[in-house]
Amino acid sequence: MTVSTPKESRGDTSPPEAGGSGSPEKLLSPVLSAFWDDPQSWTLATYRRHEGYEGLRKALAMTPDDLIAYVKDSGLRGRGGAGFPTGMKWQFIPQGDGKPHYLVVNADESEPGTCKDIPLLFANPHSLIEGMIIACYAIRSAHAFIYLRGEVVPVLRRLHEAVREAYEAGYLGKDILGSGLDLDITVHAGAGAYICGEETALLDSLEGRRGQPRLRPPFPAVEGLYACPTVVNNVESIASVPAILNNGKDWFKAMGTEKSPGFTLYSLSGHVRGPGQYEAPLGITLRQLLDMSGGMRPGHRLKFWTPGGSSTPMFTDEHLDVPLDYEGVGAAGSMLGTKALQCFDETTCVVRAVTRWTEFYAHESCGKCTPCREGTYWLVQLLRDIETGKGVMSDLDKLNDIADNINGKSFCALGDGAASPIFSSLKYFREEYEQHITGKGCPFDPKKSTLWADTEVNA
């Protein structure tokens, strides 16, 4: 079993105003974010001062197969949303097949609410580069790619610079640190398409095509980029590897829970007093995070929130004590996703929120499969009518029906994601939908939800 502090506090049933057990210092565990406040945090020099590239040395002292087993044993699970064990993904790559192998890092962070990889890459890009070198040594790849969404030029600049520095220092190129490993990294900027966060769509996009998902099997591990064995990993997953190597898998497993070990970045946003990044062992609760960061904005209370972006079914204030790990969130009826904790207070109209998310899914639907392409279109028509008071009661069942025809029937998981806010909002806030219909309009004042609403009142 595990020994971390959140584990202890999770069993704590004392009233929340006690501030929970354990001080915030003990609940948090900055690893990737440990030196983000250094004035030159993104540079190789700073990274080295914080034991950067030490994990790589330890990794290169192992055989690639042992390295894969080590990462597997650490229990690291994918941080891009699905939680698939990272070491197992590496192990799926067939060895001795005579084909080139590729590592592709998914830095297309676009899921509404998700904002962890972009600050990580802006402040500490070398953790990703080091993790990539380790991963490529393990899977025996000589060429890796970072597929960065295009809309974040400040991050692109620092990735260009980090890769340049890594080449100059001999961490990339030929015979890295005398290990015999050759590796090139290409930084690739996307061009604006949410679907490219889906790993097979990302591969099509990286091949210079429209980003549309591929039929699986074959899985990318067998036929990925250029039909060669390919590992696609999220930024945070790969960036977590160097610390595991440097500090040991037992150190890693001592954090978090048995099935969800380790540390991770939680992104708090919305109507909270302390929006931002919180690196903590898996299994912390939203209540603990809010308690340490000042809670909701003054005078307001939590109404609904997403545990991992808009594609994960929403929660309410009943779920403040759900442990935020893969099992805990799953058992409560949602998904951990990207740990994007978007918090909305009582001034926010659920119908407005869901309509906007659904407009997003309709806009971003790649058009390949009918359930998602047509379904999201009709969901938007119905939701807009309801939001503006032109809906009828039977529309609510129709929403559920259409969402049901997308969920599980679309070509890729992004269709399922479009159904999540519909199902969950109807489950928890059906009355609010009905109010829009019977009252022939939205009962909320959008001005009260803005960042500046309360300062204007107080001024």
């Binding site: 904002c115 802006f122 600049r157 990044q277 204030d317």
Partner: protein, 245 residues
């Protein structure tokens, strides 16, 4: 009668002037060399041609097709799939207001409405002087800095209608504008060249605005005990007595 615009380029496309074509061809060689398969260079090459004309012109499409051995139809199919490729001549500064749910609720909708009125343009339209193109954008991975406005894909965090209007006024007046996170603004065309994979060579561009934004650091500061937590307001307000389950 409704005239349906499919947005297809009129053929045959005129070629670039010789010296432009030569320069872009040399850049294209460099871009293609980064990939095991030349077609992978298509997305960066479309960024590259935007660095020439500020949008994906039919000439640019023809250029990409020529250097990659594709048909113009194949290139057009890709160019029209991605939102960052502009289909018509547009402004030097692309001002994008996030109106996805969280930013919209936090004030993005109000900012977008006020900017439309202030600039006298609608979504995806450009001011008459060719300086500013306004659009609403989807989530740009900065929700902890909501509401967010992007200009040429640099971050302008925690915006208000007033701050956004003042910022576009500076752009229209030609005054230098600096983002909250990112480098001092360059033009859309110059930004497109960085997106094509050519590092920003401007002095100080990489280090501009420092390590991480304030919101990115909040957890780290609390973990160090730097932030006093005396001002806790409980999220559940008056209903806190229910306690844990």
């Amino acid at each position: 009668m409704t005239d349906i615009q499919l947005g297809m380029p009129q053929l045959p496309a005129p070629d670039y002037p010789a010296e432009v074509r030569e320069r872009l061809a040399a850049d294209a060689v460099e871009v293609i060399a980064r990939y095991p398969d030349s077609r992978s260079a298509l997305l960066p090459l479309l960024h590259l041609i935007q660095s020439q004309e500020g949008y994906v012109s039919r000439t640019g499409i023809r250029f990409c097709a020529d250097v990659l051995g594709l048909t113009t139809a194949e290139v057009t199919a890709v160019a029209t799939f991605y939102t960052m490729y502009r289909r018509k001549p547009s402004g030097d500064y692309q001002v994008g207001v996030c109106t996805n749910t969280l930013c919209a609720v936090m004030g993005g909708d109000a900012i977008f409405d006020e900017l439309k009125e202030h600039l006298g343009v609608g979504n995806n339209e450009t001011t008459p002087d060719g300086k500013v193109t306004l659009e609403h954008i989807e989530c740009n991975a900065a929700c902890d800095f909501a509401p967010v406005v992007m200009v040429n894909w640099e971050f302008f965090d925690n915006q208000t209608p007033e701050s956004a209007k003042a910022m576009v006024d500076d752009l229209l007046a030609g005054r230098p504008v600096e983002p909250t996170r990112g480098a001092p603004l360059c033009t859309y065309k110059e930004t497109a060249r960085i997106l094509a994979g050519f590092p920003d060579e401007r002095e100080g561009a990489v280090e501009a605005t420092g390590g991480a934004g304030h919101a990115s650091l909040i957890g780290l500061r609390i973990a160090r005990g730097e932030t006093p937590h005396t001002s806790i307001v409980h999220p559940r307000g008056e209903t806190t007595t229910q306690g844990g389950e």
